[in-house]
């Protein structure tokens, strides 16, 4: 019972019932991290003292007969771009290597309010810009299934931490697939909520109109448990959405998928896909049909332009969001320059890695006077049409099914020198990001050599309950999500 391999739901129940103490749970998690993380490097930093102190406090409260929150005693990792007051948050960047958060992100506050125990910060692609966690200034994270493979990204550290059973739940963020794709690469389940569902206050911004705080867990049920605590309007985020009814209680009664119409967008399930990837998604569709769902073909014609639109919008917003790192008030400063402009240039050149610099330059260019209409404006039109495509598709179905990544997990270093090929790997995840829709990647199947594969469910805005329900029903009747890479 003290193994961190249990689900978050089971752990919280055990702690609340007194079958296990939060302290025991945290000690087990820390021990496992100590054993395996030196190889994996899922964490940038672990906070044992903070975690043990929080666990002791929860145990005292339990002993005093106090009511405990829904995540009582559950060790949770947070991505390095979420702020926790008093701790460092670097967003995988040299620029923020020594930055200490003066306040706590709303999403982390809600974790703490649910009595979860934050155990450390996980590695990520710098500012979320990457799909492999290789652009982190603190070195890459390894895939727990095979240390030669990337864990995906940018929330690669969080996905690896859950896959390695360091903790049953980890927060990530998803801008163009940064929760879903690493979840698929690491054989775990990842939820990107509707844009605005979870407050972005305290999330280091990459591309604000796309950024979503999401989570990675072994089961859809745990993700539902998390979403119920995390969702809801936040006075600290003017774009946050009002709360929706809790999902986790609905799952108990969900046994089959009768009446559910699953749309298969041919543009996301067609040619260009790796054969094993396509086969795994087909198998997931077939399993859903066995449980009563109906499969229908749908079309998202604008998807062909989604990657281009995504990179124009994301880079323009990134160039804007990262303008604040100028070496003046906080973050890395290269001193010695006599002139202000030289100081800022030197600080940004030293503080940002290559991928970040590339995206800032591209975004600055795309939003420059004279090019604005041609690039950013056109991308916004694509975005609007894509949203219309999704709305049209949802007239014929309840959820969409597609592979999460067009390719299985690949070796470290194999794609670093070809940014365009890397960006094309986001083709299947960016459409839902552009449309702001909730999407969940669940592990299903593997390549012949054992690499995990994942498929993604996408629902209309605000309908996280649908993707959670489908995944939950299928997880009830299967064990793909229980495949564990480490002893």
């Amino acid at each position: 019972m003290t193994s961190p391999r249990g689900s978050a739901a089971a752990m919280a129940r055990a702690v609340a019932a007194g079958h296990v103490t939060a302290t025991e749970g945290v000690r087990a998690a820390l021990a496992r991290i100590q054993q395996h993380d030196p190889q994996l490097r899922a964490f940038v930093e672990v906070w044992p003292e903070r975690a043990l102190a929080a666990a002791a406090a929860i145990d005292r409260r339990r002993d005093a007969g106090e009511h405990l929150g829904p995540l009582a005693g559950v060790p949770v990792a947070i991505k390095d771009n979420l702020l926790l007051a008093g701790e460092r948050a670097s967003a995988g960047s040299r620029m923020l290597e020594t930055f200490r958060a003066p306040y706590t992100a709303s999403a982390v506050q809600r974790l703490l309010a649910a009595d979860a125990i934050v155990i450390g910060r996980t590695n990520m692609d710098e500012f979320g810009m990457g799909s492999t966690t290789e652009t982190s200034a603190f070195g890459p994270t390894r895939n727990p299934f095979d240390a030669n493979l990337v864990p995906g990204g940018s929330s690669g550290g969080s996905a690896a931490a859950v896959a390695a059973d360091f903790c049953p739940l980890a927060l990530g963020s998803d801008t163009g697939g940064s929760v879903r794709q690493p979840a698929a690469f690491c054989g775990v389940t990842g939820l990107k909520p509707t844009w605005g569902r979870v407050s972005r206050r305290g999330l280091v911004a990459y591309a604000s109109s796309l950024d979503c705080v999401g989570a990675i867990a072994r089961t859809a049920e745990d993700l539902a448990l998390w979403l119920d605590t995390a969702a809801g309007q936040d006075p600290g985020d003017a774009t946050s959405l009002p709360a929706t009814p809790p999902v986790v209680t609905q799952l108990a009664a969900a046994n089959d998928l009768r009446g559910l119409r699953i749309g298969l967008p041919w543009e996301l399930n067609g040619p260009g896909l790796d054969d094993e990837v396509a086969a795994a998604t087909d198998a997931l569709g077939a399993a859903a049909r066995e449980h009563g769902a109906e499969l229908v073909g749908v079309s998202l014609p604008t998807v062909a332009h989604a990657v281009a639109a995504y990179y124009l919008i994301a880079t323009a917003e990134a160039a804007s969001n990262l303008a604040r790192y100028d070496g003046v008030r906080y973050g890395l400063r290269r001193s010695g320059a006599s002139r202000l402009e030289a100081m800022t240039t030197a600080s940004r050149s030293a503080g940002f890695g290559e991928e970040v610099q590339l995206r800032i330059l591209l975004g600055t260019f795309a939003s420059s006077y004279g090019y604005e209409a041609q690039f950013h404006g056109a991308a916004q039109r694509v975005r609007a049409r894509l949203a219309a495509d999704f709305a049209a598709a949802f007239a014929h179905c309840d959820v969409l099914l597609s592979p999460t990544s067009p390719v299985p997990p690949f070796p470290l270093g194999s794609r670093r020198d070809d940014p365009l090929a890397m960006w094309l790997c986001d083709a299947l995840t960016v459409p839902a990001s552009l449309a702001g829709l909730p999407a969940l990647s669940q592990p299903w199947g593997a390549t012949a050599d054992g690499r995990p594969l994942g498929s993604t469910w996408t629902a209309p805005a605000g309908r996280e309950d649908l993707v959670l329900r489908v995944a939950h029903v299928l997880q009830r009747h299967s064990d793909h999500h229980l495949r564990r890479p480490l002893p």
Partner: protein, 473 residues
């Protein structure tokens, strides 16, 4: 010889009179130790998000209504990018292609007016102080709410530009939108000016003037620039499209940057802020908060109270003055008398003392009381002024002041008796008439006594003394 036409358009930034900043809870204050009125949001720390200040939006809507502009149901905040240490996020949150309001106008007097192009909401930047030791950054001002009001190029003389600013300031102060103090920077102005041959259909090359720190400076700079451009054109030259800075000490403008050096602000809709949707109810609330505009109030004072133009102007200079005036009227004073007293006594005394008119030591009802005494003949104009001065220093009632000043009624028979005797001696015919049973003649005798006491004699006591003196034979 060619004749030339000058074309001027102003861009005015006005600081909204809010308690806190546009997107953060930090307080707004003109003074304060550097960097003490700064929230994480103002610092642009990682992960912070702007939180729109409803009071600022309400004031901006009020400003738009006061200027007759059309409030847009939907407007969008946009990021305006440039690197400078006074701009913590590397961009300023402003509005670009979808501003809060469009249209409107500012009266220039004599039936002329200047149309407005647009009005939008934006945040202020911080302040830099250059010292020998280096440049110091103060972010107290960063994030303070502003509206930018962009005028159409309808102005034709520097004097009109001055009139535009005067009227704009008057209206916005009157409505409580801003204190519009150019010296303190709560009203700032950039001016665009070009010169073209008279009758031309096409404007000349536009020069933008900056560093205009007072209304007089605006006018002086425009006068200089008008002369400079006209001279260039008259000599057959071309005016460069550029931004120039005004140096008031030297009395000249100098180039700051050329058209080619104009920055590219890379405007981007701010994804952290939903579109600003202004509903009918918000406009209605702002309209009721707006109250009566100065033009309407002036018309009412002219037409209903038949007040002369200088009085109307003085009473409409600020909303608080007219409000105070109307409270005096509410206590029964005649409009003309009250207006005279405000203009001649109250306003000069208030200006000398400073502060809020509501805290003026003589409340409107006390002035009304004094004016009633004056109107009823109980006190002379001269005595009333003395009472007013006394009230100013001691803050009592008019009656107490009169007593303290010895201006109250004389009831003592020993004082009044000789005066009554003197009246009978001075008006023997009236005395005889009374004795002959004609009581109406008493009025003349009584009037004599009142005159000799400058109205202070108690009428009842005088009546008694007269009756006693004349009945006894």
């Amino acid at each position: 010889m060619n004749a030339w036409t000058t074309v001027i358009g102003l861009e005015v930034h006005v600081q909204l009179a809010t308690a806190s900043k546009l997107f953060s809870p930090a307080p707004v204050a003109a003074l304060g130790e550097p960097n003490t009125r700064v929230h994480a949001i103002d610092l642009g720390l990682p992960g912070v998000l702007p939180l729109p200040n409803a009071q600022a939006i309400a004031l901006a809507i009020r400003a738009a209504l006061a200027l007759g502009a059309e409030v847009q149901r939907r407007s969008v905040f946009a990021r305006k990018h440039y690197f400078y240490p006074d701009l913590p996020k590397g961009y300023q949150i402003s509005q670009y292609d979808e501003p809060l309001a469009r249209g409107g106008s500012v009266s220039l007097g004599d039936g002329r007016s200047c149309r407005l192009h647009r009005l939008h909401v934006e945040e202020d930047a911080g302040k830099l102080t250059h010292t020998d030791a280096g440049t110091l950054v103060d972010l107290n001002r960063a994030g303070v709410p502003l509206v930018e009001i962009v005028g159409e190029p309808d102005l034709r003389t520097p004097a009109e530009a001055h009139a535009f600013l005067r009227e704009l300031r008057h209206v916005l102060r009157f409505c409580g939108v801003s204190d519009c103090d150019m010296e303190l920077g709560s009203l700032r102005c950039d001016a665009n000016i070009s010169v073209m041959p008279e009758g031309s259909a096409q404007f000349g090359a536009k020069v933008e003037l900056k560093n205009l720190n007072s209304m007089k400076m605006v006018q002086r700079a425009l006068e200089f620039e008008e002369r400079r451009q006209t001279a260039v054109l008259a000599a057959g030259g071309r005016v460069a499209t550029e931004t120039r800075g005004w140096n008031d000490e030297l009395g000249e403008s100098r180039p700051l940057r050329s058209k080619e050096q104009a920055p590219d602000y890379r405007y981007l809709p701010d994804p952290d802020l939903p579109a600003l949707i202004v509903g009918d109810d918000e406009v209605a609330t702002a309209r009721s908060a707006l109250g009566e505009l100065p033009v309407a109030r002036a018309a009412r004072y002219r037409e209903h109270f038949a007040l002369p133009a200088p009085d109307v102007e003085a009473l409409c200079a600020e909303r608080s003055i007219g409000d105070w005036f109307e409270r005096v009227l509410a206590h029964g004073s005649a409009p003309k008398l009250a207006a005279n007293w405000l203009v001649a006594e109250v306003l000069p005394a208030w200006r000398q003392r400073g502060g809020d008119l509501d805290a003026f030591p003589i409340a409107p009802d006390r002035l009304a009381e004094l004016l009633a005494l004056l109107a009823g003949g109980a006190i002379t104009q001269v005595a009333a002024r003395r009472v007013f001065a006394h009230l100013l220093d001691h803050g009592t009632t008019a009656a107490t002041a009169m007593r303290e000043l010895g201006l109250d009624r004389i009831t003592d028979p020993e004082v009044l008796r000789p005066l009554v005797q003197a009246a009978i001696a001075a008006l023997p015919e009236a005395a005889a008439a009374v004795r002959a049973g004609k009581p109406k003649a008493l009025d003349a005798l009584k009037g004599h006594v009142m005159r000799s006491t400058r109205g202070r004699a108690d009428p009842a006591a005088v009546d008694a003394l007269l009756a006693a003196a004349l009945s006894g034979g």
